[in-house]
Amino acid sequence: MLSYILRRILQSVIVLLVVGLVAFSMFRFVGDPIEQLLGQERTQADVDRLREALGLNEPFVVQYLGFLGRAIQGDFGISYRQARPVAEILLERAPATLELALVSGIIAVVLGIALGVFTAIRREGFAANAIMTVSLIGVSLPTFLIGVLLIWFFGIGIEIPVPWGDGTISTKLFPTFGRGEVVDLGWWTTGLLTESGRASLVLPAITLGLYQMTLIMRLVRSEMLEVLRQDYIRFARARGLKARVVNFRHALKNTLVPVITIIGLQLGAIIAFAIITETVFQWPGVGLLFINAVQFVDIPVMAAYLMLVSVMFVVINLIVDLLYVTVDPRLRIDGGTA
């Protein structure tokens, strides 16, 4: 077991190095940061001096190794644009993204699995068919469009005439811009403790989680239908077990084995997709930071962000692989056949 984990970690490190190399080499084509940093009024001497100071005239490999060496010590360099350490900027922005990703991830997983199981068990029912039809929208609409539609409906709001009270109800229910009020815990800023922070989270979290939720739901449904056809489910019913036990103990656990992998990958995707959602809702997270960095060719920020995302992907996948082994006894290496 230990050798398995060590091997997986070694593979993860190799993946990270490769991702870093690819990301770093790509930045050479994004544009010249010097162009952005110095205004129109510049001399060749200024350009040379800055290039020298930032180490941009070194060969590519030297730049990459230098980047890696410092990154291992937690130093991702200084942002060209903000002139502050990148690590500091990222740490400041990370809580916003992580909170958003966490909330939408939980929505996606909990609702996705619940609806998936429901639509599988009540395959013929009207509700299940309605959910399946609506879920097509979630799968097929792009994230930014969902975001914009939500802003239009809940942010700008429409007036619905009703025969009581003032005569209309407004659908303007949630803020659509920024994080609202946040509480600073010193090392972490959270919006979950204030009314406006929670309200601000609703629309971005739905936007970000909707696609993942429908995907998980459809996956759980089709896996579950497959599992329900298996002999051991028929046998469980023939043994007189209750439908609840058969569905939620026997069928669900077997359904989750393949679903875990996808959920892991999707959690990574939530963080990656956050770029779009954060842009639409002006959410002050790392995704928005990255988009701005791209515009200004802020290479240290972009490199650090990509490394961060790939570390998260790799860690999530490692956890998924370990979970897999815990759930499915057949994969345990020491569980030999007797």
Partner: protein
Amino acid sequence: MTDPVLKITGLTVEIPTRRGVVRPVRDVSWDIRPGEIVGVVGESGAGKSMTGNAVIGLLDRPAHISAGEIDLDGRRIDDLPEREKARIRGRRIAMIFQDPLTSLNPLFTVGQQLVETIRAHLDVSAGEARERAVALLDRVGIPDPGTRVDQYPHQFSGGMRQRVVIALALCAEPEVVVADEPTTALDVSIQAQILDLIRELARERGMGVMLVTHDMGVIAETTDRVNVMYDGEIVESGPTARVLGAPEHPYTQSLVAAVPRPDRKLRRFPQVSYGGRETAFRIEDLARDWPARPAGDGPFLEARGLTKRFLEKGSLIPSRRRWFTAVDDASFAIRPGEVFGLVGESGSGKSTIARMIAGLYPLDEGEVRFEGEVVAGAGATEAARDAYRSQVQMIFQDPFSSLNPRHRVDRIVAEPALHLGVIPKANVTARVGELLDRVGLGAEAGLKYPHEFSGGQRQRISIARALATQPRFLICDEPTSALDVSIQAQILNILKDLQEHLGLTMLFISHDLPVVRQMCDRVGVLKDGRLVEVAETARLFEAPEHPYTRELISLMPKTDLLSNAGLAAE
């Protein structure tokens, strides 16, 4: 005489479909008395399993009981509401399924599954339930039940799993057990043990057992009474000895006659003629255009010291890798024009040898010689291998997975011939049509897809595919194990014709000893990857030398009961 514990009267099952109502079970009546084993025998689609499912109340919707009644201990149960039916299920009527590999949930230990079933029916604590589980495992003959109760299903062998399945069925001491093909997926030695266990338990606990099977041998050995089903109806029923020994209905007569006999060799298999199921196989037409290629002297195919190892546990360090030897130093020779059989239980290496000879697995050691030329192993040249490939074809066990479901039949049949360049491209359509016609499917079969055919028809497609290259050597890996006895007789007769009229040499692999007796000229017996005995078929069956061969032969279901009417000995 005691009253029946289970009584079925005029049972009819209906399935509404778009094309009207189908009745897979019609007006079926029989009963089981306590401690009695009643067989229900018939071919696939006869409605046997459907009857079993109706008894336990597990008909898949939209199938439902439309007429008749089922009484348990004198009380009608088929019209009870679902909640009460669920209370009978497992507690008073239990079920044993066919495939022990798929009927246990892989993610829970055997103990967890037993305890949950016991506690679903009996009001006991978790500790007591566990004790009961261990006792049950002990009763069904699982050694060291205290340890094994905490293991997962994949840690048990097939036979042991079926014992666990039986233990699960016995959890609440049911009065009736429905056993749906309980031994079909098992080896002959395991089958004998499981049938013994079922018989013992039925006697000891006074359980009535409904044994659903297609295997006449199992019926003959195990049951007290038997019902023969054909196309949804019972055509004959009575005491087993009477029904099998002196069958009255023409269907039962031909079914009994089609059972391969271990005790004597027949020239051809008697075919089930009832219901006009026989389809022509036009061997004379095939033989007319078959190129005459006289074989040389000496052995046709020779296997020398075949060895195959599979990696069991990988490691970066070579000395820490563990290997499993699937085939260990097997040597034999096949003479031109003969059918050479390989028998053994599952895991004995039969299929591995077939694949090594077909060139699908590389050899770890040893060599295969075809008419003296090395075609596999260290000394094989590319040219010799290519020449050999166009002479050999394979027919696989499962006609459902050995045909690509997304290709049309004409493409499937033409593929090997086109690949090897034996048929000129311009003639393909004509040749394929001709072949399909000759194997009895008709030329228009080429335009359809595999799923439109039954198991036996698909195996004919496999045969057409193998014949398209006009090979001289056929490797048949359990070609009829997935088929009904009547279809099996047809396919085996076709293979016999191929040997006789086209002079094909065959390697015939099977776990079914009676079939081997009928088909093969000489037989090799495999045990754990080693070839323990090679002998002429008649000698092997009448005077086996190796103790393992003797054991295998003694375990075959006895067919002495079966009527010998209509059998022409060779």
